[in-house]
Each structure stands twice: as C-alpha cells, then as structure tokens.
C-alpha cells in the first residue's frame, strides 16, 4: 500500500492535520450586529437575572413611571408561558412574548424576528427581558446598547464571583428587593466589592419596587441613556 502513487505525499501512518480557527456561535454575533444597525434610534436594554429577582415587576414599575415621557416596548423571554407579557400589558406597556420553547436563553435571531411585530418608529426604549438565568444569556449578544443585571438581596451577595461573565458584560447591576436587607445575610458593600473585582466599571444601584427606593435614580439612568442614543444618532 505504501507504493500506492496516490499516497506519495502522505507517508503511511501519518495524519493530515489542519490547525485552524473556526469560531463557534458566530452566527449570533452576526445577527446581533444587524439588530444594532436597525435600531439606531432606539435605546435597547437587555435585562438579565436569575428567575424571581424582580425583572417583570421592575418593568411594570418602570412603565408606570416613564410611560408618559417615553414610548417603551418590551420583548419578554420565557421558556413556556406568556404570563409576563400579560402582566406588562396590564400596566399599558407594549409587550411581546418570546416563548423560547424550553431554551435557557434568548438568541439574537429571536429578537430579529420579533422586531417585525413592534412599531419601531414609535419606540424610544426597548427592553429585552431575558430568560431568568445568570449563565447562558451572558454569552449571547442581542444587539443591545446596555446590559443590566438584577441581583435580589434574597439570592446572596456571593453571586458576582459565581457568575462572572454575566457581571463582566453588564454596565449596571441593580440590587433588587432592598426592602428585605434587614432580614437577609446580604450587604450591598460586599456585593459591590465582588462585582467590581469582576468588572471595575460596573455601576451599582440599590432598588426596591416595594418601597420605591432607587427607582427615581433608575428612571433617570434610563432617560439619560435614551437621550444619549438619540443625540448620537442625530449627529
């Protein structure tokens, strides 16, 4: 067999090896950039957290406070149900449910398809409420301008180090359910220290939708971002 002319260049027993760099999950980044191109006039916020940390409640509260000043739409991801979109529509938000069919995260393709069903001309601020999960959503760019991660005081202040990529890729960490601070072993100081060791640039805001703490600052933060995005596009 060694004399077979076809294998002359290839010593028998040798393996043909191709050192390469074929990036995986690149399709998502491609779609995310397409979304960014399309939403030049809309401020897009990707809201992430574990299940039950208060994303939907915060969206409802934000809608109530800013609904008069800003046109807000919400794309909300859920593995199985449309309960969250129903809750948001109750407070007058323009909400669209993305049922991921059991998937643990939202991918850019799902957002791109959903965009056809919202009036982008009539939207200043688009929230993407991600699936409750601190792991997988961190790896998927959805074409957002800012990533905001909620961490409830009931979850424990050790989470930023446990889920570093989520906090590394977030611009703002909202410490939610602050009204429960007196009852739980959680300090804002510890969580801020850990979060800043992972991401020194992360902003931290303590909020409670129950007693209203920090909600004004959160609304201001949003208004500034929407204004900046529009100013940037007008240039």
């Amino acid at each position: 067999m060694a004399s077979n002319p076809k294998s002359l260049g290839n010593r028998v027993g040798s393996l043909q090896c191709d050192n390469t760099t074929l990036h995986l999950l690149k399709a998502n980044d491609f779609v995310a950039n397409a979304i960014r191109e399309r939403l030049k006039n809309v401020c897009v916020i990707n809201v992430c957290s574990s299940p039950g940390s208060g994303k939907t409640t915060l969206m409802q509260e934000t809608g109530k406070r800013l609904g008069k000043d800003l046109k807000i739409s919400v794309l909300v991801g859920d593995p199985e149900t449309d309960r969250d979109a129903v809750r948001m529509k109750e407070v007058g938000l323009n909400a669209l449910q993305i049922v991921t069919g059991g998937m643990c995260h939202i991918e850019a393709q799902m957002i791109l398809q959903a965009l056809d069903h919202i009036d982008l001309e009539d939207t200043d601020l688009l929230f993407i409420e991600n699936v409750g999960n601190l792991l997988c959503p961190s790896a998927f760019d959805l074409g957002e301008d800012y990533r905001v991660t909620l961490l409830a005081t009931t979850e424990g202040d050790d989470k930023p180090k446990k889920y570093p990529r989520m906090f590394l890729t977030s611009e703002l960490m909202l410490v939610s359910k602050a009204d429960l601070l007196p009852y739980v072993p959680f300090t804002v100081e510890n969580v801020t220290k850990d979060a800043r060791e992972v991401n020194p640039n992360i902003e931290v805001l303590t909020i409670s939708t129950t007693n209203g703490e920090g909600i004004d600052q959160w609304c201001e933060w949003l208004k500034e971002r929407v204004k900046a995005k529009k100013a940037n596009e007008a240039e």
């Binding site: 393996l15 090896c17 760099t21 990036h23 995986l24 999950l25 997988c136 060791e197 020194p200 640039n201």
Partner: protein, 115 residues
C-alpha cells in the same frame, strides 16, 4: 449550558468549511476559554449523543482544551492571569481588557489517513 447547540454548531461549521471532506475527519479539537461557560464533560456528553444518532460521524473524536483567563494591565503594560475571578493585576489595578478567555473555536481538525 446549551452544550447541544454548541455541538450542532460544531458540525454545521465543519460542513460549511470542509464540505464533503467532513466525512474523513477523525478527530477535532475545540478550544474554549474559561469565560465561555463551556464545561468539557458536558460538551463531550452532548457530542457523544449527537454522533450516536449520526452515522457518518460515529467514529469522530473530540478533545476540548480549556484556556485560562488572561487580562491586560494598562498600568504595567503586561498581561496577567485572572485567578478566582479576580480581574485585578498584582499591582492593584483592575482591568476588564480580556486578552484570552472568551474564545470558543475549533482549533484543530485531524483527517483519517488517506490510502
């Protein structure tokens, strides 16, 4: 996390890049940074499940190489290894300028020996 989507993406990437030659692949090596949230054991299991259902890939092998997280310190102008998720240089300067650790790619493809 979503290891099966990654495995499916491995095969669609290989098919796109190598076309028909994909059937001659004996082994592939995937390099995953620690920040890519890829667990070598889980991806190996997802890979084994996938090839069991796909006859032409049944003999293919997978090796996963995990990369440390390396960040760049602008104060010292040098790279440092991030350990225990502390993105702070030994000089005390924090940095999120990730040089290595986010990546996820097919780094090596070995073909069956041609006769």
């Amino acid at each position: 996390m979503h290891e099966l989507s990654i495995v499916k993406d491995i095969f669609s990437t290989l098919e796109e890049h190598y076309e028909a030659k994909v059937e001659d692949i004996q082994k592939i090596q995937v390099t995953a940074g620690l920040l890519s949230n890829v667990q070598p054991v889980l991806i190996q299991n997802a890979f084994d499940a996938f090839i069991a259902d796909n006859l032409i890939y049944r003999d293919m092998e997978l090796e996963v190489v995990v990369n440390d997280i390396i960040a760049h310190c602008h104060s010292c102008d040098k790279d440092f290894k991030v350990e225990y998720h502390r993105f702070v240089c030994e000089c005390g300067t924090p940095s999120t300028d990730i040089v290595q650790g986010n990546e996820l790619y097919i780094s090596k493809v070995i073909f069956k020996q041609s006769l």
